[in-house]
Symmetry: C2
Subunit: 414 residues, 2 copies
């Protein structure tokens, strides 16, 4: 077993958090990612998209490794090498597809509002702005929870003129550039929401904070399936979804494939825990790789509407946990660990986020947001506790095989 | 001559500020308006629109009185008597036309952002939100400057449901009502900018701050002429207006009717002073009553984009003064008075605004905005000073006739 990385401030990491898998990390990537905890272990780095090789193995953890082939292109040292750039279609808000000289690509979301801005209480989840720092923070939180389901996201300072205006080949983007009254270079692209002079993306005067997310392998190489979440919201100002009206909603979900067998239901509950912690109400779909069939891990893409409000929580996001009363043992252990004073979630998030290049400009999450994480974590544990008082089958024990595998590994090495 | 109102905190008001005209004010109106200074003197109140009688007299001041026949409908005691309400056409942002049981009407602009929100530095003047408190504050400032060119505006707390939703006969408005995630009653109407779920007008949960501006007499009774300001901005993200490119621009304006004779040019410069003080860049047009011909006072309608930014000034708004180097003597005397410690503009504005019903909720202008007024006033006086160093014809002496009239009045009464 690997011991925690040298220089890691949080020591005495329990067995659950140590690494089980071999790691091949370049120096640049290790600068990018949290130095402690499992996240580092679950990455295998390669230098070009061609290196993507779907792994037809049984373990969810092993499949999971295969989805991050391009992480190297996101590293700090590549920060000025934009090859070209176009607007990404789909979705309702502006995002760009940036291409690098090594044929790697990343999904760019620009900073649109100051980090301390709280989402207006009168705005619906489907009208909220997307936040570059939410994408970055979601990636770190997902790793700290041990899920590893969000492709790597890193922050970067870009030059709006040199890296975007002069590199874009997309007329829909290039025709929207202008210089603002404050002398900043701005643009807004073309999209359904917030693509107008009234909602510009602006440098200061040229420098712009962005998030860059690793692009998944092309759909022709690795087709994905998009699943509508059973706990999807109504996306209406007036209608309620079924799960909001029926407290026994989970009974029917439990009987419906693919939730009726395997780990899909507890995967979904993991996702609800992640989303509740970061207050993301916009999880309408999740994805899986088709090649792995139904017995596979989930992908949590598109987290830009998380971390919008720190001053209040949204208990309805926890409905899958609260209504089904099921949770993975490994997830619960991780949550309990992160509730301990020595491993407090806010502390490890602060440390993890400090590794992102943009942390030099300002902390990726304000203290109010970090503190909300601790408050929400306690709320999750309280829901589990309430479940355990009423039911005996709350814990889905996923660690039996893990412990057995670990023993086998150890025996083989001995 | 009248002495200042009883209970007025600012005493020893110099001659310039005392009242020359008879005043007929109801108790409710006196609660609404500043108790000190000229503003109170320049109002004649009547109870219904039918009382409007254009005054065919020579003096600009006397004409000016005639434009405010409906002020009583705005008073505090009428606050719950909405008869019906429709969306006002024209303009780019949401405004409503509210009708009262006595057939009076007012133009309603709702609060859309918190009072402390500063306009984003990257937003153009033509994209800025309209602010209800800017409409109210502009009215008070205009009175304190002695211009009396803005029809009365008063703030009011309205019930979105009882006073608007249940009273509107306008489908364009009624179909946009909804309850926000925070449980507030919201609507957005139909307009060019900011009329969408993303930019709702919301009560808390029902109460909404609005500004109500006295509606001018119907155009069939008192037709008005709209004049394009010679110092109008380009309303383009890239183009500059002529006056921005040509420092001698005023020479050509001075030779063009109606600016080539009478007081129109100094009227325009008064307007520039008002707009600079409140940082209003959106003065594309002004209006006059046709019946008074060219020798008449100006109307400064639509001040919702003033008071957007307190942390910086916009010197270009002063271009008419700076380029023409002309100013009314009465205006200059008023400005100098308001720069004295005992009559500081910020102090008299604070006191004046405190009379508005909405001041009970929070000051209409933050201290930062009030303090900006003093800073900008000093800047105006500096521009005049610089003009006087270069030219001998800076002062347009409009007080000769005034003094003579006063003497005549006094002689008649004696």
């Amino acid at each position: 077993m690997m011991s925690p990385a040298v220089g890691c401030k949080i020591r005495n990491v329990p067995t659950l958090l140590t690494c089980k898998l071999p790691v091949h990390l370049s120096t640049s990537v290790s600068r990018l990612l949290p130095p402690c905890f499992l996240p580092l272990c679950a990455l295998r780095v390669s230098s070009s998209p061609g290196d993507f090789r779907p792994l037809h193995r049984h373990s969810r953890e092993e499949q999971n490794i295969a989805i991050y082939p391009h992480i190297e292109i996101l590293s700090h040292s590549y920060s000025i090498l934009t090859l070209f750039l176009v607007q990404k279609t789909g979705g309702t808000q502006l995002k760009l597809l940036i291409s690098f000289p090594n044929h790697g690509q990343a999904l760019l979301k620009p900073m649109k509002q100051s980090r301390d801005t709280e989402t207006d209480v009168n705005l619906f989840y489907f009208s909220d702005f997307e936040r570059h720092n939410a994408e970055i923070s979601a990636f770190h939180l997902d790793r700290l929870l041990g899920f590893n389901r969000i492709p790597p996201v890193v922050g970067r300072l870009m030059n709006v003129t040199a890296d975007i205006r002069e590199k874009t080949t997309d007329h829909k983007v290039s025709r929207t550039f202008f210089t603002s009254p404050a002398g900043n270079v701005c643009f807004y692209g073309q999209c359904e929401y917030y693509c107008s002079t009234e909602h510009p993306v602006c440098g200061r005067p040229h420098l712009l904070e962005v998030s860059l997310a690793a692009i998944l392998p092309d759909l022709s190489l690795a087709p994905r399936r998009s699943w509508r979440s059973p706990w999807r919201r109504s996306y209406s100002r007036t209608k309620l979804a079924q799960w909001e009206k029926n407290p026994n909603y989970c009974d029917s979900v439990k009987q419906t494939p693919p939730y009726s067998q395997g780990t899909r239901l507890v995967d979904l509950i993991d996702m609800a825990v992640l989303d509740f912690l970061m207050s993301n109400m916009d999880r309408h779909h999740y994805e899986t790789f088709e090649k792995f069939g139904n017995e596979t891990f989930l992908l949590h893409l598109d987290n830009g509407r998380a971390f919008g409000r720190h001053s209040q929580d949204e208990p309805s996001i926890l409905a899958p946990l609260q209504q089904c009363c099921r949770i993975r043992r490994s997830t619960l252990l991780r949550l309990r660990l992160l509730a301990l004073p020595d491993f407090r979630l806010s502390d490890v998030m602060r440390e993890s986020l400090a590794q992102d290049p943009l942390a030099d400009a300002a902390p990726l999450l304000s203290e109010a947001h970090l503190s909300a994480l601790d408050r929400r974590l306690a709320a999750v544990l309280q829901v589990v506790h309430t479940c355990q008082e009423k039911h005996t089958d709350v814990i889905h024990d996923d660690l039996d095989r893990y412990d057995q595998d670990s023993l086998t590994d150890r025996n083989t090495k001995q």
